[in-house]
Every structure is written in structure tokens, then in C-alpha cells.
């Protein structure tokens, strides 16, 4: 294959990464933006989404598309419920004090990961794709499912944006973000908003995982990479900025796709992590956002 | 004999967005004087002294202290040169003992730790409480401890930001005696709302209003100044 089509393939793979990454990172970003919580367990919500999708695909009879559709609805709800529970039983009791909260979410990371290890086991298991369609391009064939992933992710991101910008729920969230105490004085149930936002963040990570699991397989340690990449995206995009997060996800996803095609993936990750550290040191407002930390 | 100038600010400016917190202030402190800084709330007093001690970076203008330009010098180095600042909102180390609070000031300039710390505590009447955790002191005692930390630095210039706020009358008398004792070795710049304290202690007064100097002079001159009266009486 000549260079042009090769680059196109790399870009298309990058788009798939970007799409899933944007979903997961927007979840992390929402939680930080509204709750000021740095959720280190975010990657485990992703993992739980994938692992629970495997369970659902086993339990639901019929063709793969039925099981997959069920997973697409049930898994984000399930993970969202776990997230809400974690918020109400742990984070709320810490009064969202930043450092204690991070330590607690590190604890949560281990709890979820090890629980998955005991209940699901150490093996990686595939979940069948809902359909097998191959789109034939002039130079190569491409998975129709992957294209569907990009489309689905775009739809969900639009939905999240509408929810935040146009709906009453979004207004309540923004009010809470602006000033917790004033929001409370205006009769907003801040505890419920926080639990809801944490659930939404976890649910988005889970949704991203359900979309990717037919391509990637479910494994109890699969949360590490999405966590790291989401961090990178959120920090480069500017913490709490939805627009910046999506742009950064595109940037990171596409460059990751391209770089990993031509260079060793580990080297790409080293460069990316160092870049994040340096961005935080020298430009804490992110490349596209305002100062937040 | 003309007074020796210890500190001199020229055209000192600091804006926050559209707010002209400090706007082109010229200001001199004579060595050994007690100088009070007064003005209505929001006049820029705390911002102004924060520029002098380096807690807030200067936007434009210059500061000379003891003959040297300190405009861009970091705060901790200004402290080493002899500018001490006591906080408006008490900021003692609440979880450390009273002794440790003052010892931190003494040890920095390499003083004899135990002796000088005790001496500084005796001076403000806290010697008996040396072992107590500072956060458990009464509010008045915490204010006094804050001042003791400033004194223990043995500064050339001591900047006191509303030191008598929340003190009982008897405590205010003790405070005034204390300030009179430390001049003229130490020059005192005092932000104060209590006019009795100001008129009693200060040799010179500078009035700030909307970030600018409204007037400077002796207490008598300031009292008689119509512009000052207008600003204070809401003219």
C-alpha cells in the first residue's frame, strides 16, 4: 500500500480512537468542571462498561445486535448507578476536599478493578459486534462498525452538549458549578446534582467502552489507558471546557492513530504524558481553555 | 536634622481588571516614624502594603527600601531585608505551639532560639502560653501572637494591617504601649480603622481614596483637611 492510503487508514483509525476518547474524556471533564473532582477511578468506570457489556452479551439470547443494543442501554445505567453510589457514600462525606477526594478515588480504582478480577476473571474476552459490514474503499476495505462508532459518538456528544447548554438540567448544573452555596440557597438539591453528574461522567465512560469493546475485548486492567488518555485530553483541552475537550480528543486521537502507525506506541505515550506534565506546569489553563486548577 | 528616608514608592500602580486598586501612589516613610494609612473601605490600603511587602507584584512604578530598588524583589527576600508584615486576617500556624510560631521568626534571622523566642513572647505577655497550640488561643491572643511574630523578625519596617481589629480596650492599650516601645529602632506602618489609635500613635498619616493619595500630613493637618473630611463624611 502506498503512503497516501496508508495515511488515510491511520487517520480513520485515529477517528475511531478520537470518538471513543472524546466520550470518556467529556465524562471526566464534566465531573471536574462541575464538581471540581479529579476522578482517578474514571478508567475503571470505562472498564466496568466493557466487562458488563460482556456479561450482557452472554445473558441476552438472540443475534448479537440484540445483546449489543441491550448492553448499550443497560451498561451505562449500571455504571452510572455505581458512580452515584460512590459519590453518595464516599465523596460527599469527604465534602469534596480535593486531596482527600483524589486519594479516595484511587481507593475506588483498586476496589472496582479487583472486584472485576474476582467476578470476571483475568482473561480478555471479546464481545461480538452488532453487525459485520465491510465498506470497500478504492484502496482497502474498512469496518462499517468502526464508522458507526464514530457516528454514534458524535450523536451522543451533541446530546450532551444540548443537555448542558439548552436544557433545564444543564442550567441547574451550571448554576451549581458557578457557586455551590448560592445554588443551594436557590433551592437546588446540590447533593442530587453532584450524584447525577458523577453518574453521567461514569455513564459516558461506560458508553465509550461498550462502543469499543467489539473492537478491543474486555479485560479487568483495560481502564489504565483510557484514564491516562482522558487525563491528557482534559488537561490539554483545558479542564472543564467541553469544546476544548472535544478538540483535544480529536487532536490526541488522530495523532495517536498516526504516530502509533509509524512509531512505537510506547514512545508515543511517553511523549504524550510528558507533554501533559509540561502543559500543566507552564500553561495550566490548557491549550484551549481557561485556568482551572 | 532632616529625617532619613527608609522607604520610598514612586508612581506605584496595580489594577485588577478595570478596578484601579492602587493608582500612581507616591509615598515616603521616614526612618523611625509611626505612619498610619487610613481611608474608606476599598480604598486600596491592603493592596498598597501588599505591593510594598511583595505579596502582590507591582504593575508599574518603583519601590526603594533602605537605598536599594526592591520593586521586583520576591517577598521572602524583602522580609530578609527587614520588611515584616502582619496579616489582616490572623494567619498564625494554628496547629503549632505558640513557641514554634515565634521560633520560626527567630530562627530565620539566626537568633538564639530559646532565649529570644521566650523574650519575644514575654514582651507581648504570652510567655506562659508558650506550649499551647496556637489555634486554641483566644482571638485577641492570636492577634498578639501575630504581632509577636512580626517583632521577632526584628524588622527595620513593621507593617501592621489592622492590628487592633477585634481587640478589647485593655488589649488596645497594651498594643499602643508595645508600638511606642519599638520605635525608633523599628519604623511602623499601620493600617488602622480605629481613629483613636491612629491619632494617638501616628506621627504622620496618609489618606488613600480610590487607590490614590488624598492627603499626607500630621494628625492635626489631616483632621483639618477638607478633602479628607469630605471623603469620610460622604461628601
Amino acid at each position: 500500500m502506498s503512503f497516501g492510503p496508508f495515511l488515510l487508514l491511520a487517520l480513520m483509525e485515529g477517528m475511531v480512537t478520537s470518538a471513543v476518547l472524546a466520550l470518556a474524556a467529556v465524562g471526566l471533564s464534566l465531573v471536574f468542571g462541575i464538581m471540581r473532582v479529579v476522578n482517578v477511578a474514571h478508567g475503571e468506570f470505562f472498564m466496568l462498561g466493557a466487562v458488563s457489556a460482556w456479561f450482557v452479551s452472554q445473558w441476552v439470547p438472540g443475534p448479537p445486535v440484540v445483546g449489543f443494543a441491550a448492553a448499550l442501554i443497560l451498561c451505562p445505567l449500571f455504571v452510572g448507578a455505581i458512580a452515584a453510589l460512590a459519590d453518595m457514600t464516599v465523596l460527599k462525606r469527604l465534602n469534596y476536599e480535593p486531596e482527600a477526594t483524589i486519594v479516595a478515588t484511587i481507593g475506588l480504582l483498586y476496589i472496582l478493578q479487583q472486584a472485576a478480577l474476582s467476578l470476571y476473571g483475568p482473561d480478555a474476552r471479546p464481545v461480538p459486534a452488532p453487525f459485520n459490514l465491510r465498506v470497500q474503499l478504492p484502496w482497502f476495505g474498512y469496518s462499517g462498525y468502526k464508522i458507526a462508532v464514530v457516528a454514534a459518538s458524535a450523536v451522543v456528544l451533541l446530546g450532551v452538549w444540548r443537555l448542558l447548554a439548552k436544557s433545564r438540567v444543564g442550567l441547574v448544573m451550571r448554576a451549581t458549578q458557578y457557586d455551590r452555596e448560592t445554588a443551594r440557597a436557590f433551592g437546588i438539591n446540590v447533593d442530587r446534582v453532584y450524584a447525577g453528574v458523577f453518574a453521567l461522567g461514569g455513564g459516558l465512560a461506560a458508553l465509550a467502552a461498550v462502543l469499543i469493546v467489539p473492537i478491543q475485548q474486555a479485560h479487568y486492567l483495560m481502564g489504565t489507558d483510557p484514564l491516562l488518555l482522558s487525563f491528557i485530553v482534559v488537561i490539554i483541552g483545558g479542564l472543564g471546557s467541553l469544546r476544548g475537550t472535544v478538540i483535544a480528543a480529536l487532536l490526541i486521537g488522530l495523532s495517536d492513530g498516526v504516530i502509533s502507525t509509524f512509531f512505537a506506541p510506547t514512545l508515543a505515550k511517553i511523549v504524550a504524558t510528558l507533554a501533559v506534565a509540561l502543559v500543566l506546569v507552564f500553561r495550566p489553563q490548557g491549550l484551549f481553555g481557561r485556568r482551572a486548577l | 536634622m532632616a529625617a532619613v528616608t527608609l522607604l520610598e514608592a514612586r508612581g506605584l500602580t496595580r489594577h485588577f481588571g478595570g478596578l484601579k486598586a492602587v493608582d500612581g501612589v507616591d509615598f515616603t516613610l521616614a526612618e523611625g516614624e509611626i505612619h498610619a494609612l487610613i481611608g474608606p473601605n476599598g480604598a486600596g490600603k491592603t493592596t498598597f502594603v501588599s505591593l510594598l511587602c511583595g505579596r502582590i507584584p507591582v504593575q508599574s512604578g518603583s519601590i526603594r527600601f533602605d537605598g536599594a530598588d526592591i520593586t521586583r524583589m520576591p517577598a521572602h527576600r524583602r522580609v530578609r531585608r527587614g520588611i515584616a508584615y502582619t496579616f489582616q486576617i490572623t494567619q498564625v500556624f494554628a496547629n503549632l505551639t505558640v513557641f514554634d510560631n515565634v521560633a520560626l521568626a527567630v530562627q530565620r534571622r539566626g537568633g538564639h532560639l530559646a532565649e529570644e523566642t521566650q523574650a519575644a513572647l514575654s514582651r507581648v505577655g504570652l510567655a506562659e502560653r508558650a506550649g499551647q497550640i496556637a489555634g486554641t488561643l483566644s482571638y485577641g491572643h492570636q492577634r498578639v501572637l501575630e504581632i509577636a511574630m512580626g517583632l521577632a523578625l526584628q524588622p527595620r519596617l513593621l507593617i501592621l494591617d489592622e492590628p487592633t481589629q477585634g481587640l478589647a480596650n485593655a488589649e488596645i492599650e497594651t498594643f499602643k504601649d508595645l508600638v511606642r516601645q519599638i520605635v525608633p529602632e523599628t519604623t511602623v506602618l499601620l493600617i488602622e480603622h480605629n481613629m483613636d489609635v491612629v491619632m494617638d500613635l501616628a506621627q504622620r498619616i496618609t489618606v488613600l481614596n480610590f487607590g490614590e493619595v488624598l492627603a499626607t500630613g500630621t494628625p492635626e493637618a489631616i483632621r483639618a483637611n477638607p478633602a479628607v473630611q469630605a471623603a469620610y463624611l460622604g461628601g
Partner: protein, 314 residues
């Protein structure tokens, strides 16, 4: 007895107990205790940064790893003896902490946590990437012949125990002296109120950097000792988990207490050891312990003791 004498008596007694342990403990626990003492040295260093100076780092595995690989690669590739390798490991830990500190200390709080986490992750990935030098995931096994210090065979139970003890004792005495010194008082002042410390004339950046470098020296020494005493230098020992563990040990034992890191490391080591006999998911106890500690006992064991009864405990 004066306060100072009482404090030294307590800590020297603890050391005497550990020394006696070298003679009294059965072989299995001898190895475990040697490991705990090395890890506790690492945790003491972590405590200097976190417990005393208030620097919550999530990247200390980088400094531990620098010591581990600094010593290990020198032995493996340059045929260095254990002594120089250990010193190289110590210095590598301190130097790495210095470099990271120069950058990371420009940030504070949550940003500092993430920056240190990212630097450590980059370090870990670098180890995985340079397989020719580090043997990547597999790690380096240090041959028995190379693990000889002052004529003692460090792979044998008893010399290993006392080598670990010597390291721990030196670290403990140094730390006790440091935190009770005027410099230690400044570190605590920075933790309590940085702005007030600055207005007493202390340079927060320089002081925090110094504390981080000391912390890195401890981590480097512990890393080097781990490699030389147990003969294995692996990437997993430089992973994020090894940044979290010292935090956990210190939180459990009591942040800002001299003996806390040892107490925390000892309890956690045996807790994980016993639970791994029952389940493969033994790290569950790490997660549960972290959550329970921040929720119900943020001061840890010795911190709570100090608050309630032993006010003099350093």
C-alpha cells in the same frame, strides 16, 4: 526525663526491638521484615515530602525506580560492586527528585499531584521502552555473586536482614533529627501555611525543593537496596502502584509521624500477604484501606494516638 530524651528513648527502643528481631524471627518473617524495613525507608522519605512538607506526590515510584534501576543497571551492565551501586541508586533518586521538583513545584495541590503522576508514568514507560537496557517487563535478575557488600552475602537471610536494618535505622535517626531541627520546623510551617512562611522570610520553592530532594534520596536508597537485597529489578516496581503504596503506608501509620511509615508498611505488607493466600484480588485491601482511611481515620494510627494521648510524639 526531658521531652527530647523521651523521644530518642522511644525511637531507639523501637530500633533495638527490630535488631533483636534479626535473631528471634523465623526465616519466613525474617525475609518479610527485611522487605518491610526497605519499603518503610521508602515510606519515610515519602513522609518527609507529604507528611511534613505537605507535598502530596503521586509520582514517587519514579524516584524509587531511579534508585532501583540506577543500582541494578550499574551492576548488570558495568559490573559495579554492590557498594558503589547503592550509592549511585541513592544519588539517582535524589537527582530525579530534583529535576521533577524544579518543574512540578511550580504547581500546587491537585495540579502537583497530576504532574508528578504524569512524570512517573513517563518514567515507567521509558523503562518499558528501553528493553535493551532494562529488559522491559521481564526485569533484571541480579546475580548472587554481585550481591556482596563488605564481605557479606546479601542474598543470605541474616546479612540481608541486617543490611535492611542498617538502612532503616540510618533513615529513621536522620529523619528524627531532621524533623526536630529548625529546618524541620520550616517544613512543617510550609505544610501548615505557605503564605505565612513566605512572609517570615522563607523561600517556599527552595525549601520544598530541598524537602523533595531529601525525600528522593530516601526513595533512591530504598530502591537500590531493594534491588541488591532481593536480586530483582523490574518495571512493576516503578509502576503507579509503587507511587500509591507509600501514600497508603504513610496514611495508615500516620502522616507527619516518624514511626508511622514503618507501622503502616508493616501492617499493609502482612494484610496483602495474608489476603493473597485467600484471593487473587489481594489488592482489594489496598483500595478498601485507602477509602476507609480518608473517610474515618485521616490521621492514621500514630497520628490519632498523638492527637488523643501522646502529644509529644514527633
Amino acid at each position: 526525663m526531658s521531652a527530647g530524651a523521651r523521644i530518642w528513648a522511644l525511637h531507639l527502643a523501637a530500633l533495638a526491638l527490630l535488631a533483636a528481631g534479626g535473631v528471634l524471627l523465623p526465616a519466613y518473617h525474617l525475609t518479610n521484615f527485611a522487605k518491610v524495613m526497605v519499603l518503610a525507608t521508602y515510606a519515610m522519605g515519602y513522609n518527609i515530602a507529604f507528611g511534613y512538607t505537605g507535598l502530596l506526590s503521586l509520582g514517587h515510584a519514579l524516584f524509587f525506580g531511579a534508585g532501583l534501576y540506577g543500582a541494578g543497571m550499574l551492576v548488570q551492565h558495568a559490573g559495579a560492586a554492590a557498594g558503589p551501586a547503592a550509592i549511585a541508586g541513592l544519588l539517582a533518586g535524589g537527582a530525579m527528585a530534583g529535576v521533577v521538583g524544579l518543574l512540578a513545584l511550580r504547581t500546587q495541590g491537585v495540579a502537583f499531584m497530576i504532574v508528578t503522576l504524569m512524570f512517573a508514568q513517563a518514567g515507567y514507560l521509558t523503562i518499558l521502552y528501553n528493553t535493551a537496557w532494562t529488559r522491559g517487563d521481564e526485569g533484571i535478575v541480579i546475580a548472587r555473586e554481585a550481591r556482596v557488600l563488605l564481605g557479606f552475602d546479601l542474598s543470605a537471610d541474616l546479612p540481608r536482614y541486617f543490611a535492611a536494618f542498617a538502612l532503616f535505622a540510618a533513615g529513621l535517626v536522620l529523619k528524627l533529627w531532621l524533623v526536630r531541627s529548625p529546618s524541620g520546623r520550616v517544613m512543617i510551617a510550609l505544610r501548615e501555611n505557605e503564605e505565612r512562611s513566605r512572609m517570615l522570610g522563607y523561600d517556599p520553592y527552595a525549601r520544598k525543593l530541598a524537602a523533595l530532594v531529601i525525600s528522593g534520596l530516601y526513595a533512591g536508597a530504598a530502591g537500590a537496596a531493594y534491588g541488591l537485597l532481593f536480586g530483582y529489578v523490574g518495571a512493576s516496581l516503578a509502576s503507579t502502584q509503587y507511587s500509591i503504596l507509600p501514600l497508603l503506608w504513610v496514611l495508615l501509620g500516620g502522616a507527619g509521624t516518624v514511626l508511622g511509615p514503618f507501622v503502616g508498611a508493616l501492617l499493609m505488607f502482612y494484610l496483602i500477604d495474608y489476603s493473597s493466600a485467600v484471593t487473587t484480588a489481594s489488592l482489594l485491601v489496598v483500595g478498601v484501606a485507602l477509602v476507609l482511611l480518608v473517610l474515618f481515620a485521616p490521621k492514621g494510627i500514630l497520628g490519632t494516638l498523638r492527637e488523643r494521648w501522646l502529644k509529644w510524639l514527633p
